[in-house]
């Protein structure tokens, strides 16, 4: 067996041969750099690979085939909403009028994109029940930072800068407490009650004159709608704090629940979840943030404005002194937002309601199939929203097979694994989110696979604990990777693991 295995690929740097490549741009005149002082010039060229188009393209096509993706199969990664990414949207974002537009182009030559962004803001306001939306944040976590910084600015504007505590349920995404820290706030963790909701008594006890905000994901990362949300919001506002909604799970409530109407003061929306902009192997995303009346003055700059004559413009740098400022360069990730806009236009109100209804129906169906099989623990009864928890705690006690093993065995069945060991509040958790774009046949096949794996765990546990068996690689030495980090290619690494050719 070669060092990299049959389906694995050498790195670009191993493929490189001195003298390959070239002729993509014209040669510059010989004196092109004469004006540059010699001490400012690069003396050693960067050791980039030297390759021609066929090697580069084959390298990346072969590498791509080592990936599981929505385009290749089911991806039930809980809380990530791996739904279908419409091809029209990829085409649209690449239209030269959108793709070639410089972000500092004058407003008068950018009316198409500005109008699109403005319309998108209006649609997101309608969906979220918020008063206004900023499209600037580059991802959900960036939106969280935006929201918490606005909350901080709000309290400071009222002379209440001692409000520095953010209440975060223990089932929350790690980004929530990490965001609070970045915004100079202290996280107060709130335990979950037995039914998976927020422990109201603990929550009330934690609220006080130092409370700045609560951050709630609703539905929660357990896939449960917070039934006491009205009571929670009232208690938050009674003590003068604000309510932040993490919109990671918005796919479960489109047209059913508008956070702004219910009393949330601010929320972020992950366009790369709910509105189907592709995840790209980790990014890009976009994290628009909606606000109610109280936070309106603090929105980041620049906003997209519509003039009385129907033209659009970007707010000037110093136009709104109450703004928290900029979180990044330019107006936002417009290329992502074009895709979200196309998705919303394709669906309209009826389509969006159907998205949510089908996503929730699919999750409940899948949950039901696993529940009646008895193969896994289903810790929370009753209807779930778009995702649900199944646990392998009992299975592990009987067979020694863990959730991690089940996840790896699913890969052999051609499925991506669910989110595992999250939320942290459930033992041996699997968070399963089927989304609305998977067929009933796929849902059944996935349930069958999970049930079959539980049977294998009883009859032949080593088959499961040794999985995956058919993936390009077997389980990896993660501890070794962290102990002796090799984070870039160097010639010495080549000696340790030689190129297969």
């Amino acid at each position: 067996m070669s060092a990299t295995g049959e389906r694995l690929q050498p790195t670009l740097l191993e493929l490189s041969r001195p003298g390959r490549g070239g002729s993509i741009v014209p040669h510059p005149p010989k004196d092109a750099l004469d004006r540059i002082p010699s001490e400012q010039r690069r003396t050693v060229p960067p050791a980039l690979p030297e390759l021609n188009e066929p090697e580069v393209v084959r390298h990346y096509v072969n590498l791509s085939q080592l990936n599981h993706a929505v385009d290749t199969g089911f991806y039930p990664l809980g809380s990530c909403t791996m739904k279908w990414n419409p091809k029209l949207n990829e085409w649209a974002a690449r239209l030269p009028g959108f793709a070639r537009l410089h972000p500092l182009a004058p407003d008068e030559v950018a009316q198409g994109t500005l109008g699109l962004l403005w319309e998108l803001e209006q649609m997101l306001c309608e969906i979220s029940g918020m008063r206004a939306v900023t499209l600037q944040p580059a991802a959900g976590a960036h939106g969280e930072l935006c929201g918490i910084l606005m909350i901080r600015a709000y309290h400071e504007s009222r002379g209440e800068s001692e409000r520095r505590e953010v209440l975060v349920p223990d089932s929350a995404h790690g980004t929530n407490p990490a965001t609070a820290t970045m915004a100079g706030m202290r996280t107060v963790s709130i335990p979950s009650a037995a039914d998976g909701g927020v422990d109201i008594a603990a929550f009330r006890a934690a609220l006080g004159p130092r409370s700045a905000a609560i951050m709630i994901t609703n539905p929660s990362t357990l896939g449960l709608f917070e039934r006491r949300i009205g009571e929670l919001l009232e208690a938050v506002h009674d003590v003068g704090a604000l309510a932040y909604m993490d919109g990671a799970n918005l796919n479960a409530i489109l047209g059913r629940f508008k956070p702004g109407e219910a009393g949330f003061d601010v929320m972020h929306i992950n366009t790369h979840k709910t509105f189907s902009t592709p995840h790209g192997g980790g990014g890009p995303g976009a994290g628009p943030v909606g606000v109610g009346e109280k936070l309106l003055p603090f929105l980041p700059a620049p906003r997209v404005l519509r003039e009385a004559d129907g033209t659009y413009r970007l707010e000037a740098a110093d136009e709104r002194p109450t703004s928290i400022g900029r979180l990044r360069s330019f107006v936002g990730s417009s290329g992502v937002l074009v895709r979200a806009y196309a998705y919303l236009r394709a669906h309209g109100a009826a389509g969006l309601r159907e998205v949510t209804d089908d996503a929730v129906l699919a999750a409940n169906y899948l949950k039901h199939r696993l529940a009646v099989s008895g193969a896994y623990d289903i810790p929370f009864d009753g209807a779930c929203k778009h995702e649900f928890i199944a646990g392998a705690s009992s299975l592990k006690k009987r067979t020694g097979v863990r959730t991690l093993d089940i996840a790896k065995r699913l890969l052999d069945h051609g499925f991506h694994a669910p989110t595992i060991y999250f939320p942290l509040t459930v033992d041996e958790a699997m968070l399963i989110e089927p989304t609305e774009t998977e067929s009933l046949e796929t849902l059944d096949a996935f349930a069958d696979a999970l049930i079959a794996i539980a049977r294998e765990a009883e009859s032949d546990p080593s088959l499961v604990t040794g999985a995956p068996h058919t993936a390009p690689v077997r389980r990896l030495d993660e501890a070794g990777a962290a102990r002796n980090p090799n984070l870039r290619w160097r010639a010495t690494a080549g000696a340790l693991a030689p190129c297969p050719d």
Binding site: Y60, A178, G332, D358
Partner: protein, 454 residues
């Protein structure tokens, strides 16, 4: 429904399994008083009509102009191979590589990205990507504070105004201080970071500096005295952060060569379309000594159970999903697909191609300088530049608007972007790259002359 596969019969079957009459029962947990009012949105649009609407909107943007606008975002030639690879669903419809056994493509591509950028900046470690140049720069500044346990950074006024604004926003949150280093006003170094001022700012013993941030080239396109700034910074026990434009590193000394501890920058020039602000690519790199302070994902090389070489996300103890409120950053979603674009672009160009792109841009810019000087429009500054520079244009806003009508996007009206530098109150910032043609340059000079005479 638009993209969902369910037939009425499918839904019936699922509801029947659940013993339900309709889907509404699944939403009974939403309190009646808090249920949504009806959604008011336009009706669903059939794909053909939507495609036409999108073409119409895109057509309302003017991208046919001869453009000399850069200011942090640059046009470069991208071989079609780059986008054709990006359009493969195996790349763009995958998620963060949480299951490495079925994500080796993404993981290896990130490792290669880390390797290529490390070569380019000549530093040891590169994060898997940040949102954009501004966010990466803000993270670099925070990183310097964590590493030195100090709470004040100095940022040159030569750093892009958007980046400076982002640092201010991030630092207000973190409760840390940002002071700006002025630019030299007169003489051959005008428009570059004032080193005497830097030395004075570093000298305040009571208020030690964590890091110094200087951009190369600076916002006006000028070459900064990076080696000297780094030396002064290190003498004060602070870290030196270089904010770089990656294509320029094909010909300019890399951060590692002048002792920078951290490099940050905007990766857009590496084959990524301008697309009105993003998605772009935040580059963040550092020396080995700082790796545990580096925010964002890292991919490392390892082996599988059979000893095969493989790649995996590593050193995750820095990250939010493990460390929660003690994490180095809240970063989760990053710009992996754009890192892929940059890698493919660099692989297509290679070291000589990259040098040619940077050098040809410099040659075109020199041609532009000469053409503008010939119609009486001189540079504002005297310091050397690579491919972007400011020119003195009285009544710049009016002239710029007039140029648009003549089919020319005449760079950036500096007074609109920089409010704190009187030297550029009557100036345009213009750039050229390898895609700028002699015809465009001639058209610009002619239009400028005509507009000034008008």
């Amino acid at each position: 429904m638009t993209y969902g596969p369910h037939t009425a019969a499918d839904r019936e079957r699922m509801l029947a399994a659940l013993g339900l009459e309709g889907v509404d029962a699944l939403f009974s947990d939403i309190p009646a008083s808090l249920r949504a009012t009806p959604l008011h949105l336009d009706p669903p649009e059939p794909e053909q009509e939507l495609a036409r609407r999108l073409e119409r909107l895109a057509g309302r943007n003017r991208t046919d102009l001869a453009s000399f606008l850069g200011a942090g975002v640059y046009r470069h030639y991208a071989p079609p191979a780059v986008d054709q690879i990006l359009l493969r669903g195996e790349w763009y419809t995958a998620y963060t590589p949480y299951q490495p056994e079925v994500s080796q493509g993404t993981l290896q591509s990130i490792y290669e990205y880390e390797s290529l950028i490390a070569e380019l900046v000549s530093l040891d470690v590169v994060s898997a990507s940040h949102y954009d140049g501004a966010a990466a720069t803000a993270e670099a500044a925070l990183m310097a504070c964590r590493a030195t346990r100090r709470a004040r950074v100095l940022v040159s006024r030569g750093v892009h105004p958007h980046y400076r604004a982002a640092i201010r926003t991030y630092f207000r949150g973190a409760g840390m201080r940002v002071d700006e280093i002025p630019l030299s006003v007169d003489g051959p170094a005008a428009g570059t970071t004032d080193l005497d001022a830097l030395e004075r700012l570093l000298g305040k013993q009571a208020d030690p500096v964590a890091g110094v941030l200087v951009a190369q080239p600076d916002f006006y396109g000028l070459l900064e005295p990076m080696a000297e700034a780094a030396r002064l910074t290190h003498a004060a026990g602070a870290l030196f952060v270089a904010i770089v434009e990656p294509v320029s590193l094909g010909v300019l000394a890399p951060p590692g060569a002048y002792g920078a501890d951290i490099a940050a920058g905007e990766g857009q020039p590496l084959g990524i379309a301008p697309q009105y602000g993003g998605p772009y690519l935040g580059i963040l790199a550092c020396s080995d000594a700082l790796v545990r302070q580096l925010p964002g994902r890292l991919v490392g090389l390892t082996t599988d159970l059979d000893g095969r070489r493989a790649f995996v996300m590593t050193l995750q103890a820095r990250e939010q999903h493990i460390r929660r409120e003690k994490a180095a950053s809240n970063l989760c979603t990053n710009q992996a697909l754009l890192a892929l674009a940059a890698s493919v672009w660099l692989a297509m160009l290679g070291p000589h191609g990259l040098r040619d792109v940077a050098a040809l841009g410099a040659a075109r810019a020199a041609e532009l300088e000469a053409a503008l000087a010939a119609v009486g429009v001189p540079r504002v500054h005297r310091a050397p530049y690579l491919n972007e520079f400011a020119v003195l244009v009285p009544d710049a806003r009016r002239i710029h608007r007039g140029l648009l009508a003549r089919g020319v996007l005449g760079g950036l009206v500096l007074a609109d972007a920089v409010v704190d530098d009187p030297a550029v109150s009557d100036a345009l910032l213009v750039c050229a790259t390898e895609v700028t043609t002699s015809d465009e340059i001639a058209a610009f000079a002619t239009a400028l002359a005509a507009e000034r005479a008008a």
